[in-house]
Amino acid sequence: MTIKVLGPGCMNCKTLERRTVEVLAELNLKADVQKVEDLDSIVGYGVMRTPGLVIDDKVVWQGGVPTKEKIKELLESVPAGRTAS
């Protein structure tokens, strides 16, 4: 599973990145977490209201920092076969 955190590097984007990593650890999931800071790439996903969260190239969240429960939900909504690791 590849997770991308979209955001030019402000406080909210860093919070989202940190929460995502924490949730992954809590769920015992392995994923490749990347930070995307390039504006054109961010907009390329159709995301304007940063921070945004992309799981396996699909935008699942944008425009605020989701709670950890919400991130858990978003991660679990990804097809089961792909999250297993």
Binding site: C10, M11, L39, D40, I42, V43, V47, R49, Q62
Partner: protein
């Protein structure tokens, strides 16, 4: 912040303490002037204006449905809707300055095009809600309203100009829009959110009224109780926590710079000779407004620090017109932001944008000085 920047700052502070002759009269006077202004802000503006203003900004960040606003800036929106929405959305969508550039790029390349994007880009920093509220509290509400209206009108004119000059560069296809409809919006009715917002605004307004202090206290307590009631009984706990977090983040980000800014603003009163200010920007003439516009465009003001600076410049004899001009270019443009604009928009577009904003601000400031 890069390590060598930290080192440079540390060395500069060290050299300042090492070299400045603290016991010379003018230095002592300016330091105490800085402290006096700090006390004025601490006593008059922090509790009654800034604290409510930060909560209001937090409300906008968490409770306003931004997806709905974004849809109005989409690729298929009619121009007569997209421009006005672009001109006010800066205050709604971009509470944090770091969100402005992705939004601008998005509206430009995937949404309503360069015109509304420019309108948004200008009003984002210019009609920041905390800045408008502090302006009103410190300099009077005619200034706050003037600043708000001038910024909105300028943004629309600048947007129209940009889209006319660069009409062949504007995107023509309406293929892929924004990622909307994701679950990031809050589930409360617009009415509830509007009521919640107005209650907080009322707290701030009542603080500013010249009424009997005990009546004022009763009214404020009443409003705070209603606000607390809404928070406890209507809003979900997770959203309330987000509201507190956003408010705290803004406070953390802005307050340290503001205190430094207020201190510096206090010191300039004794450091800059009154004659210099009255000669350069004392009258409401076009040259005076042009000086204010240029100074504001190149100078960097951290959020809100423009308010104490302008307050003290007015105290030194700056005219009201040039003061408004300085507000308009002060926040929207700075040397660092110009460099970023050149990178994002390209040389030609950025130059036209910067010159347009600078000259429109001169006109707006001059008009304000003539009318008010």
């Amino acid at each position: 912040m890069r390590e060598w920047v930290k080192l440079l700052i540390l060395v500069a502070v060290f050299l300042a303490f090492y070299l400045v002759p603290i016991d010379v009269a003018v230095v002592t006077a300016s330091i105490s002037a800085g402290l006096i202004l700090l006390q004025e802000y601490a006593r008059l503006h922090v509790l009654t204006c800034l604290v409510p203003a930060f909560f209001i900004a937090g409300t906008i960040a968490v409770y306003v449905k931004k997806d709905a606003v974004m849809k109005l800036l989409g690729p298929t929106t009619k121009k007569y809707i997209a421009y006005p929405v672009g001109s006010v959305s800066g205050g709604i969508l971009a509470v944090c300055s770091c969100t402005i550039l992705p939004l601008f790029t998005g509206i430009y390349k995937r949404g309503a095009g360069i015109g509304p994007a420019v309108a948004f880009l200008f009003t984002g920093p210019a009609i920041n809600v905390t800045a408008i509220l502090l302006t009103g509290s410190v300099l009077g509400w005619d200034f706050a309203v003037g600043r708000l209206i001038a910024a909105m009108v300028i943004s629309i004119i600048a947007g129209l100009l940009m889209s006319f000059v660069f009409r062949e560069h504007d995107r023509k296809t309406t293929d892929n829009g924004f990622a909307t409809g994701l679950e990031s919006d809050v589930p409360y009715s617009n009415l509830t959110v509007a009521f919640f917002f107005i209650l907080q605004l009322a707290v701030l307004v009542i603080f500013g009224l010249a009424i009997d202090p005990s009546l004022k206290a009763i009214l404020v307590i009443l409003l705070v109780l209603i606000i607390a009631g809404i928070v406890i009984f209507t809003f979900r706990k997770e959203h309330t926590m987000e509201w507190f977090r956003e408010t705290w983040n803004l406070t953390k980000k802005i307050m340290p710079y503001l205190f430094v800014g207020v201190f510096i603003a206090g010191t300039i009163e004794t450091l800059i000779p009154r004659e210099v200010i009255t000669r350069l920007v004392g009258e409401n003439s076009l040259p005076a407004n042009a000086v204010a516009s240029t100074f504001g465009a190149f100078m960097y003001f951290a959020t809100l620090t423009e308010v104490p600076i302008v307050q003290k410049l007015i105290g030194l004899g700056m005219g009201r017109g040039p003061a408004l001009t300085l507000f308009l270019t002060g926040n929207a443009l700075s040397l660092p932001s110009m460099i970023v604009l050149f990178k994002v928009m390209g040389k030609k577009q950025a130059s036209v944008y910067i010159l347009t904003i600078m000259s429109l601000s001169v006109i707006a400031g001059w008009l304000f000085g003539e009318v008010a």
